[in-house]
Assembly symmetry: C2
Homo-oligomer: 446 residues x 2
């Protein structure tokens, strides 16, 4: 195992570290070695401080050796998207607007990681301001392809076995889509589960944090560690959190009830994705019911974009105006368009969101999850200048529903395509349980 | 059981609420009824909002019924010492200096309670600024006696079965002493386990938060819920927390090694306390070793007082100066004395504290706990104007060691006297395990 420590899951690592058969230092060294070997091509890291990582690892080893308390992620390295602050560490947010930015306070999730005993490895690359303009990060499966965005570095680093865990964010499709393109698990819990305090605000209504892992259990474990009530985030739910990992581990025999909604944007699926999804639906058999979509939701994608662009331009009005020339030519037209959205259009969009709440609250009385592809197809070529269409992820971001992607399908270029499951609000544990069951059914059908 | 819901432990209550056989509303109603029946004499509450408590309870019942996540303290009422802020609720700190104070932000522990699903019942009475001048709270065992201070209301409310749990604070002996006088369990974890953000600062070096329960497990469970890393508190430990409840529940067969230190202040023990402690030491047999005390620690009590009074006068310099006439005649001379302490005297005291760290770090290589009485004797008469001598609690507050009190002894007036156990820094789980074992040994010897 010695030479392959970087391949360990987070759960196996914690167990070995707490049990004394593995040191956090050895694990972190293995991950740093893997990073130094692969990051020349992958370019997943915006900031990496080897000394700090090793120091944290040795401290966690010391804590364990002295018989002190161990944590949920004791000694396990975690990557943070470069829009999540950690005190006294550069956080550039993928933008020349924030070139010299070094926050003096950590995000709540960073503090929770410290409480869990994790080793914060550094910052992973984000698209410019977590929006459209790509990083130079490459896809671990094919260096000519995009890893997806905006959490490009987080997804790529986990998929390339550089770290077992990373945190990303999703406003449109920035967790689920890159996880799909990189062939790993991505999990975006219900809105309000994870505090966004200390994270770049791009859209207060739509911003979510989410996690990446190479197993469903790892992605859930990380949420157990970082979720919690935080009054610094207005959306934070003032009540107990589910046991996410418990949901992922539940060995349920109850057959899930899954809905397939006929959204108008389904015609954007590439043919390999369409064929793959048909095969998945066939294997799931009568566990899946096909449903029409309410008229009010037909424009879901446009309405989502209205809220996103309007809020982006308002939250960031000051830096955008002050340093216009530091914006990419990809982002400038988006901002220009966003600035033309009227208050009335924005209020109308929020009204559609409220009616969507009702529709989905009812739907989840009868179904455990909605099934969708996680992306339109395989990862796009970097030369396209795009990070992929987030269309299939907008629903969960828009309504604040929990969603996750399972790396199940393989496209025509042998690249991964994820299968997405979307659960009811605050029904994260039920969603994870359903995902675990779906995964088992599909494995058996294989 | 219906009529006696207020007698349930927190652990039993949570289990019944989560299992669906008890509603939080019924439990809170029973506690409110108990409060209305007993608080005329007890006077434990500084602020009680029945409607808010019932609303929180109904919300926790709703969360449970909808199959949502439940918390460590789901639906269980908790009292907070009136120096702990909750947003938009009066927090007078037992002082006319803060008569109209309504904070707009909650203390970190209050937020953690919300995350745990607890029902915050209100504020329990504190002595003036958590220092010497008593409240009008009475002892549940004898209305002519003091409940102890400074967490008078918290200890009295739990002992009188008004609430199963309460939070207090200790700078000298303000958790362990009132728990001893009221005949319940008190637990003050290691310095840095529980965040003090949002709590009146009386001494940054010595202030601790602690818990009260009618079982050791309940006091530990509450710490599981409220402890955690919080960078808002400089003393907060940036690493994982022990499983406090797990320590209290551990059924160890390993015999503990306990130290009895011959402190010079031992001659302050009342005769009933001395006899009781001798009986305890006899029952524990060769598990206890009697040790001399290092010369540097002989003046521990004086040095503790120097730090406490110096820091109190500095932290509160502004309000003390601005509203001198609003201070009690008990507190005024203490402040006058505190103001005469020089910086050099204060620095010398901190130096003694550092040497105490070394002494105790070594001691706990060989011992699981130090045993002491929790107070000099039974609760003093209210007519004495005093809340009792904190002398036996100063050690743990001074060095930041975890300590707890077990309601084991009975004094000459049939009033309770606690047995105190003091553990090594951050060895809270080991201390709780030791306490559980000691309690069992003493029960068997009975």
């Amino acid at each position: 195992m010695k030479g392959d420590l970087h391949l360990l899951t987070a759960r196996d690592s914690v167990q070995a570290i707490v049990g004394g058969s593995l040191s956090s230092e050895a694990l972190v060294e293995a991950c740093l070695k893997r990073i130094s070997e692969t990051d020349g091509t992958l370019k997943a890291w915006a900031h990496l401080d080897e000394n700090s990582a090793l120091e944290q690892a040795r401290e966690m080893d010391r804590v364990r050796r002295t018989g002190r308390a161990t944590g949920l992620l004791h000694g396990v390295p975690v990557g943070l998207k470069d829009i999540i602050d950690t005190a006294n560490v550069p956080c550039r947010r993928g933008s020349a607007l924030f070139d010299n930015r070094v926050p003096d306070k950590s995000a709540t999730v960073a503090d929770r990681l410290i409480e869990a005993g994790a080793v914060i490895m550094g910052k992973t690359k984000t698209t410019e301001l977590a929006f459209v303009h790509p990083t130079d990060t490459t896809n671990p499966h094919d260096p000519l392809r995009s890893p997806g965005g905006s959490s490009s570095g987080s997804a790529a680093a986990v998929a390339a076995n550089q770290v077992p865990l990373a945190i990303g964010s999703q406003t449109g499709g920035s967790v689920i889509r890159p996880a799909s393109f990189c062939g790993i698990y991505g999990f975006k819990p219900s809105r309000g589960m994870i505090s966004r305090a200390g994270v770049l605000q791009t859209s207060t209504t739509l911003d979510h944090l989410g996690t990446f892992g190479r197993t469903l259990e790892d992605a859930a474990l990380l949420v157990n560690a970082i979720s919690g009530y935080d009054p610094q985030d207005d959306a934070s739910l003032p009540r107990p959190r589910p046991d996410f990992l418990g949901g992922a581990l539940a060995e349920t025999q109850i057959e899930p009830a899954i809905a397939w909604l006929d959204f108008p944007f389904h015609d954007l699926m590439a043919s390999d994705t369409r064929e793959g999804m048909e095969a998945v639906l066939e294997a799931l058999g009568d566990r899946v019911e096909r449903l029409p979509v309410a008229d009010t939701l037909a424009d879901l994608a446009e309405v989502h974009i209205t809220i996103h662009e309007y809020e982006f331009c308002h939250h960031l009005a000051e830096p955008l105006a002050a340093s216009w020339n530091k914006l990419s030519h990809t982002l400038q037209p988006v901002v220009e368009r966003g600035r033309t959205i009227s208050d009335a259009q924005y209020q109308d969009a929020l009204e559609v969101r409220r009616s969507a709440f009702l529709f989905f609250a009812q739907l989840y009385n009868d179904f455990d999850a909605i099934i969708e592809p996680s992306a339109t197809g395989e990862a796009p070529l970097i030369s396209s200048g795009e990070t992929g269409d987030p269309i299939f992820c907008r629903l969960a971001s828009f309504v604040g529903l929990p969603s996750l992607t399972l790396p199940i399908l393989v496209g025509e270029n042998e690249l991964p395509i994820g299968v997405q499951l979307i659960g009811g609000r605050e029904e994260d544990s039920r969603l994870l349980r359903t995902a675990s069951r779906v995964q088992n059914v599909l494995k058996e059908a294989d």
